[in-house]
């Protein structure tokens, strides 16, 4: 009896959607905003950078008029998220929310820090993070619903990056703990940033230079393909720290016996083993995607090309590679996102990069310093994935 009922439920006719329905994600966002405003501290105040923090609610963290304005705007966004379905309006309200929220964090820092006190630190707390999460979710969801083309997504990224740059350059955030950390080590920040980018993108470029040709040859030779894929899969299973460790001994030995290698900066610790490890991790996605990309070229297309008298080189350059390109680019996307993250670990063996701040910060229990290393890393990965996703789409798309 009950089984009959459940069967009719499962296969029964789905009722038509009511004209004015509540949006599930919007509802979740509204709840997040409610919790953030009324039940969570907005900012954390610490007397020194390693002292334990004291929570500050929104009404304590901002002048009363500012706090009221932020509450009103956030409530407006929450109501809009639940009731309004038009993606453009949702995006607009999310942008307004962020435009009020982000500067007010900087104002809060200035408001909470006693005048002339350079030891006190103000950092964002749960309430701020929840609010920015809620607004960003709303914005990302709206952008997804708008189904932007590749150029639209790149433009959205450019607008976001410019807005962030504007906030940072305007000085409105200068009183925040993380920027205090930045100002005390601005020189090393940009040095490590350059090192991070070089490690991640340099090893990717090297992996492409070797991996794409290796993938092309492996695609043709079955025995080589099996050997290469197995070898690279084994490399992929070695944990990154272990791989750094494994490379120390042979590179140290090379540095000791080959003066030229030592002169080039190749030694057991430092950037060289980090670069090599990242390169080895990058090889598998590049080689595997090159092989996959070439294998999915329809055999009729290759046969027709051969039958029309295209030489092996012409087939590869004019037919197979263009058709494999989206898949190869997807491999490069995986590698770049993975490398920006993995390069953090390079700091452990003296390879530099943003990991330097992360591990220093852990050592000093200074969470702001950890964030100074972590946030740019996440932002780089995020931006790289958007840019390469757009490139994948562009390489797939046939011009209209």
């Amino acid at each position: 009896m009950s089984s009959t009922a459940s069967r009719t439920n499962t296969f029964g006719v789905v009722p038509p959607r009511p004209a004015l329905s509540l949006d599930h994600l919007g509802f979740a966002i509204a709840v997040l905003i409610g919790v953030a405003l009324f039940a969570a501290p907005f900012a954390t105040y610490r007397a020194t950078r390693i002292a334990s923090g004291e929570a500050r609610l929104l009404i304590e963290a901002l002048p009363i008029a500012m706090a009221a304005a932020l509450v009103l705007v956030a409530l407006g966004v929450a109501i809009g998220a639940v009731l309004v379905r038009d993606p453009l309006s949702r995006l607009g309200s999310a942008v307004i929310g962020l435009a009020v929220l982000l500067p007010s964090l900087g104002l809060s820092a200035g408001y909470l820090t006693p005048a002339d006190n350079t030891f006190a630190r103000v950092s964002p707390s749960l309430g701020f993070w929840l609010l920015s999460l809620a607004f960003s979710l709303l914005a990302v969801d709206a952008l997804a619903r708008m189904r932007l083309g590749p150029y639209g997504r790149l433009t959205a990224l450019a607008v976001g990056v410019s807005a962030l740059a504007l906030l940072l350059l305007s000085g409105i955030w200068d009183d925040l703990s993380i920027l205090r950390e930045y100002y005390t080590r601005a020189d090393s920040f940009w040095r490590e940033a350059r090192q991070h980018l070089l490690l991640a993108s340099g090893s990717m470029a090297a992996a492409c230079l070797l991996g794409v040709p290796l993938g092309i040859v492996s695609h043709r030779l079955r025995t080589l393909r099996i050997a290469v894929m197995q070898g690279l899969s084994i490399v992929q299973t070695v944990p990154s720290i272990a791989l750094f460790g494994l490379l120390m001994a042979p590179l140290g030995a090379i540095a000791a016996s080959v003066p030229l290698a030592a002169a080039l900066g190749i030694k057991g610790i430092g950037a060289a083993p980090a670069f090599i490890a990242l390169f080895l991790y990058a090889l598998l996605p590049i080689v595997a995607n090159t092989i996959a990309g070439l294998s999915q070229v329809p055999s009729a297309v290759v046969d027709a090309a051969r039958g029309m008298g295209m030489s092996a080189r012409q087939r590869l350059v004019d037919v197979e590679m263009p058709l494999a390109l989206p898949v190869i680019l997807a491999g490069i996307r995986i590698v770049l996102v993975q490398n920006f993250g993995l390069a953090t670990v390079a700091a452990l063996i003296g390879g530099g990069g943003f990991g330097t701040f992360v591990f220093q910060g852990i050592g000093q229990t200074a969470i702001d310093l950890v964030l100074l290393g972590a946030i740019p890393t996440v932002a780089l990965s995020f931006a790289a994935s958007i840019v390469l996703d757009a490139l994948v789409d562009l390489s797939k798309g046939t011009p209209a």
Binding site: P298, A304, A305, G307, T398
Partner: protein, 312 residues
């Protein structure tokens, strides 16, 4: 003229094509027909050396194909396969221009040739030149595939199941178009199919293959009246034979004096069509008109039936 001379292909111990010889006259259409796995495609692919023969040779106008560099040989031979293999990342015009560009024709000449071919295949250049293969219907893709194969004016066209992916109505139209274009250009065609109806409809001569061997190479009428063995007879279809024979004969050949009632039939139609009209209308005879529409006589049921069997 294409001469296939004792052509053999062996993969290990398996014979795929076994000592096949036949010749295709200039400007005619030869169909290679047989069950799947009979070695038809391998035979075709040995002509443009996509498959290297284990033994035997192919002569094109007396010239051994092994004496010509592979790619150069293929530039001179059109090639159409099932599924067409159009380049998905290139538009129709660029697809058609493939071989002329490989031959380094100048761009003006290439553009002119592409336009000419689009016209020939009833694809409006303004509308179709810049479309991509995925934007075309199956029939349009097929026409682009044939146009691409003909782009550099090859004297020989090889076609491997070129109509296999089309539905019945479009296939019939595509077959008519191919015959019209072949008559117009005088191209020699070797076409592979497993469809006996297609073979009878298109072939000036038909090569029947089974288990790697060539069983018979003959005109459609000969194949019907004097099948070489039981297999050919079964493949030709014993029950279908009289009707196949009638569809090979023009009304002109069964013309009798006299005046019949009813709608006239053209002298160029087949006896198969005439019989079908007679059966449907319940008449004993139909008037026959020539190309200008003038009545030139009649065709009768009795006259048609006499021709639906082997001549004594």
């Amino acid at each position: 003229m294409i001469e296939i001379d004792r052509l053999t292909k062996r993969y290990g111990a398996t014979l795929v094509v076994d000592d096949v010889s036949f010749a295709v006259e200039e400007g005619t259409l030869a169909v290679v027909v047989g069950t799947s796995g009979a070695g038809k495609s391998t035979l075709l692919r040995m002509i443009n050396r996509l498959v290297e023969p284990s033994a035997g040779r192919v002569l094109i106008d007396g010239e051994d194909t092994r004496a010509i560099p592979e790619d150069e040989l293929r530039h001179r031979i059109g090639y159409v396969i099932q599924g067409y293999g159009l380049f998905p990342h290139r538009n129709v015009a660029d697809n058609i221009a493939t071989v002329p560009r490989l031959l380094r024709w100048d761009s003006k000449k290439v553009a002119q040739r592409v336009e000419e071919l689009l016209d020939l295949f009833q694809l409006e250049p303004a509308e179709f030149a810049h479309k991509f293969p995925h934007e075309l219907s199956g029939g349009q893709q097929q026409r682009v595939g044939v146009a691409r194969a003909l782009a550099a004016r090859p004297a020989l066209l090889l076609m491997d199941e070129p109509f296999g992916a089309l539905d019945a109505v479009i296939r019939s139209k595509a077959q008519d178009d191919l015959l019209a274009i072949q008559r117009r250009l005088g191209t020699t065609i070797v076409l592979v199919t497993h469809d006996m109806n297609e073979a009878f409809r298109l072939g000036d001569r038909i090569a029947v293959m089974d288990q790697a061997r060539l069983l018979q190479y003959a005109t459609p009428a000969e194949l019907l009246m004097r099948p070489a063995d039981d297999f050919v007879e079964r493949l030709v279809g014993s029950a279908e034979r009289p009707f196949r024979l009638l569809s090979l004969i023009r009304v002109q050949e069964a013309l009798e004096p006299g005046h019949a009632e009813g709608e006239p039939i053209a002298a160029s139609e087949s006896l198969h069509d005439a019989l079908s009209r007679l059966l449907w209308t319940g008449r004993k005879a139909l008037p026959v008109a020539d190309a200008s529409g003038a009545l030139i006589g009649q065709v009768s049921v009795g006259g048609i039936l006499q021709r639906g069997r082997p001549l004594p």
